[in-house]
């Protein structure tokens, strides 16, 4: 196999894992175009299912993901990217990881783990303009 097979699935799930700490940050999707852009630029680009267009992660918040390693699975229908998460938070709610809600299998109780790295209200200002040059300097 030579890579992910977009003929099987138009959108392939992508697991993003912090390259240093190893925690799972998020799951999103790539189409072939997003995958090719990611490979070419070294900045992780997903495909947004809700907005139905390429989603250059961090475009708005500045929290880009720098691609460090990339793997595909035995069925060639899932990707794993190891990233350097600029800004320290992958989640749009301001948490380091999107998986900040833990379930207790016995009781079903939900516990919020992890701390907020940023306040979403501060980061996602309606009129903010994306300035890639400034963002990428951080990485």
């Amino acid at each position: 196999m030579s890579g992910p097979d977009f003929t099987k699935l138009e959108l392939i799930p992508v697991i993003a894992q912090d390259v240093e700490k190893g925690d799972v940050l998020m799951l999103a999707y790539m189409n072939q175009e997003a995958y090719q852009e990611t490979m070419r630029t070294g900045h992780v680009c997903y495909y947004s299912r809700s907005r139905q267009k390429l989603w250059r992660k961090g475009e708005e918040s500045g929290n880009v993901q720098l691609l460090k390693e990339i793997f595909f699975d035995c069925d060639a229908d899932t990707l794993l990217v190891k990233v350097d998460q600029v800004g320290g938070a992958a989640c749009h709610e301001g948490y380091r990881s999107c998986f900040f809600r833990k379930l207790d299998p016995k009781t079903g109780a939900v516990e919020v783990i992890g701390e907020r790295v940023f306040d979403p209200a501060e980061v996602y200002k309606p009129a903010e303009v994306y300035k890639p040059a400034e963002v990428y300097k951080k990485g």
Copy 2:
């Protein structure tokens, strides 16, 4: 939010991560029934898209996954399970992780990383009968 939302998606992707070493082992899917069985039994149960039925991981190979922690994401449409992978290999090809193929973003070259823990030809014998009592003793 009180847990994964199966009204949004009938099948929710589930990332399995080794609870000790933190490496990502595989991605599979759960429907509500698989999720409930996982929560009730503490053994990870997926839904097989190809076979269209519940997939009690390790049922055939003995490589069950013991549920240690479970998280859901900010959109309530992805799960993360931290597991104790009995037998040390999650992949049906005998590798510890299904993500044993690494891509070079510059050249597209594929490198196999990680070693085979078992030989699939030895494990998946056609006539083998599933013996849960023997399997679960190992955990």
